[in-house]
Amino acid sequence: MSDRPTHSGITVPLLWRRLAAASCAVAAIGCSSIPAPTEQLTRAEAAVQRAEQTRDVESAALSLRRAQDALSSAQTAMHEGDYIQAQMQAERAQVDAELALSQADSTRAKRSADDLANTIDVMRQEIRRVAPGGAR
């Protein structure tokens, strides 16, 4: 009908170029194209802050330290535009902060129970005590 080139008329070098472009795009999606993990970072920051503010966090010092380090790496990566790294470090920071919090909570609960058990032992001894001359 006309002398315009048809699809079948694409030259081989052009096909190669198109394939190369497509594979680059695929590679780019796989490697670096995720949205900025702003929400995950905010969650991690909140979790670390909660862990830092909990009472008796000394019992969870190592987990807290890991959480703080990961959060700091996440913030740096975010700043440098490495969103994948930022996402992963933020996830680690959040879970380590939650771990620190759970450790502190469980240590505190166990200590309270132990303290009360001791108080009760003392009370029992006091009640059994019949020794004379016991006034203060």
């Binding site: 939650e98 469980s106 006034a135």
Partner: protein, 272 residues
Amino acid sequence: MTTHTYTVAVALIVIAGCASGPTLPARVNQVRSQYQMALGDAKLTQHASVPLYEARQAVEQMERASAEQEDEGRVETLAYVAERRLQIAQNRADQNLAASRMTELNQARDTLQLEARTREVEEARAQLAHAQRLSKQSRGLGARSDARGVVLTLDSVLFSTGKADLKPGAERVIERIASLLNAYPDRGILVEGHTDSVGSDDVNLALSRARADAVARALARDGVSADRIRARGFGKTQPIAGNDTASGRQQNRRVEIVIAQPSAGVEPDTQP
């Protein structure tokens, strides 16, 4: 030439990716078996069901990422998260168990406190009955109880007029009081002297103190441990009757012996 080399390299990477199967299979297996062990732990299933559920979600996310051949960094991060979730479940289970133990301990403590209080009340009742018997047997000895404990009142007829010395006849009364006090060896004892309002404050104070001391010494002679006793003088400051009649003044001149009630918070040293 360069383009060709690049193309071959990309092809190799894609092939390698396709041929290698799931990412970090050993690591994923390790975390999965940790999770399965946790599922078999009744402590966790009973006391940390929510954290365990969250751990399961993390394990599943890790397995999906591994099956979909996501890169190692991603899968390792998810494995790390899943492991931590399992530890969190352990901690939450421990915390909940400690909380249950706390509830039981609180009940045990309440029971003990109630027992102690009941025993104290019974003991105070027995003390008062004993004191009232002594009061009936002894002239010049009164018995009552107030918030501080059982109170024995030595009337001034037991003392030489205007002096601190106990009359010879008072010895028998002191002896009986001592036997009552020695029946409750762990109670503190307050010995408190009082006068009527006749005379100067200084003289009254000195007399009330001297009488309290005399009673304390007499009790100690009859075997009451001296370190249980705190003697004080109050002069005319705490009358129990009006000072305008002879009988009122007579009542005000007295020495009180208080058998302190532990729960009334009476510490001999903190008395005014």
